[in-house]
Symmetry: none
Subunit: 226 residues, 2 copies
DNA sequence: TTCACGCTTGACGCTGCCTTGACGGGGGCT
DNA sequence: AGCCCCCGTCAAGGCAGCGTCAAGCGTGAA
């Protein structure tokens, strides 16, 4: 998930960035209102974390301008004070959710995921799939990780596509098998071999592993360290 | 939308009623705890506005009793004081959201709409489960408590999911066993071992215990021992 | 036809989970 | 108080699930 963080406190921004990228999201930053609005208008992000107090332009104003430009990227607003006028104005400005400081990082991440899920439900996905530094373009069938091209077979590509589309959710073995062979799944446990090959291509040459197995359940594609 | 307002201040109740009915909702009233619980148990409302301070029965107690009866109607709790224990207890009692007085009627209406939408859309199916600072996302199979990730096995995860879904209600051993093994439950008392492991992961490292056992009956997952 | 690539099959060994059984403590009923 | 049943705790064994690898087979392209 591509997250844009608009926040002027460097330490808080760094905290957010660390946590979110550890969860496998790619994070962009803006330190003031105008540059935040520019980046937000680029349609390059799945969700936006927006501080209420910003140099150059107020967070609510930024959100309002963004909506006026027709951008529908979900916005999670951070407010320092939990006062009634504060909340109302934030939501009225077009924010989709808000969070009062201090907040827990896990709650923030959960809310971002919820926003993203809700939004991607009715707007469809953009072309290229991405988790952490791993990308796959279903159109060109090209996969990259950290600027190096991955050589994938057809089965491996299909597996990777499903895992990316469902990320960070868990995908059962049965579901993976259905996407490969439809209704007539071959005997034995062929999936294991393909997962092994996919791992050799995607995870083996790199430091952080993205493909994780959940014993007895299936597989999931995330960047978090087990 | 059918709204039930449980509130003992006549003027505030009248205000709420006027505003909500002006928005096209039908509104019922209760002025004290016991009658409120009765009306709330009738399953005739889409959402409930519940004051924290009530004659006859505390709002949190009412909410807890309502959940114990298996009623899942979304509850928006009104609290006079915005303290952390206050919030936690309200949410632990089974409330879905809370609002601190004084609040604006427009925000109340917006939150009621959000609760209703969420309830009718997801209908208890998916979404992240939460009790106190413990969360579990059935989709990603990830569990957290207070920003730390919990390593759970399949059996532990299933147990936790049932306990969270039924929280704060009691869950019998038989029911827990059925969710783990279906109809053919193994001999002996394997459940004890799994509950022990689950506790080691969920409660052992933390100060407050969430899993409570009811002697001879089963288990329940709540923040405070009733 | 020949070649090459990818898919399938099967075997082997390991990790981790589930199960089993035993012991001790505590709560409830008489 | 005393008994009994229920429950917490722990360790060890067994087994299912999984990673790994190598070799055979099918299929498409030159």
């Amino acid at each position: 998930m591509r997250v844009l963080v608009i926040e002027d406190h460097p330490d808080l921004a760094a905290n957010l960035g660390d946590y979110l990228s550890a969860q496998g999201h790619s994070v962009d930053f803006a330190g003031d209102g105008p540059s935040g609005l520019n980046l937000a208008s680029s349609d390059a992000h799945d969700v936006i974390v927006l501080d209420r107090l910003l140099p150059g332009m107020d967070g609510a104003t930024l959100c309002r301008k963004l909506r006026e430009r027709g951008k529908l990227t979900p916005v999670l607003m951070l407010t320092a004070l939990d006062t009634v006028p504060n909340r109302v104005e934030g939501l009225a400005a077009g924010a989709d959710d808000y969070l009062v400081k201090p907040f827990s990082l896990s709650e923030l991440a959960a809310r971002l995921n919820a926003l993203h899920r809700r939004a991607s439900g009715w707007s469809g996905g953009s072309g290229v799939l991405q988790v952490a530094d791993l990308t796959l373009d279903p159109e060109t069938a090209e996969a990259h990780r950290a600027d190096t091209r991955l050589e994938l077979t057809r089965a491996e590509r299909r597996l990777l596509e499903v895992l990316l589309r469902r990320s960070p959710r868990l995908v059962s073995r049965a579901e993976l098998e259905r996407t490969l062979w439809g209704d007539n799944v071959p005997d034995g446990d062929v999936l294991r071999a393909h997962m092994h090959n996919l791992r050799n291509a995607v995870d083996k040459p790199f430091a952080t592993k993205l493909i994780h197995t959940v014993h007895g359940e299936g597989y999931r594609l995330v960047a978090s360290a087990p």
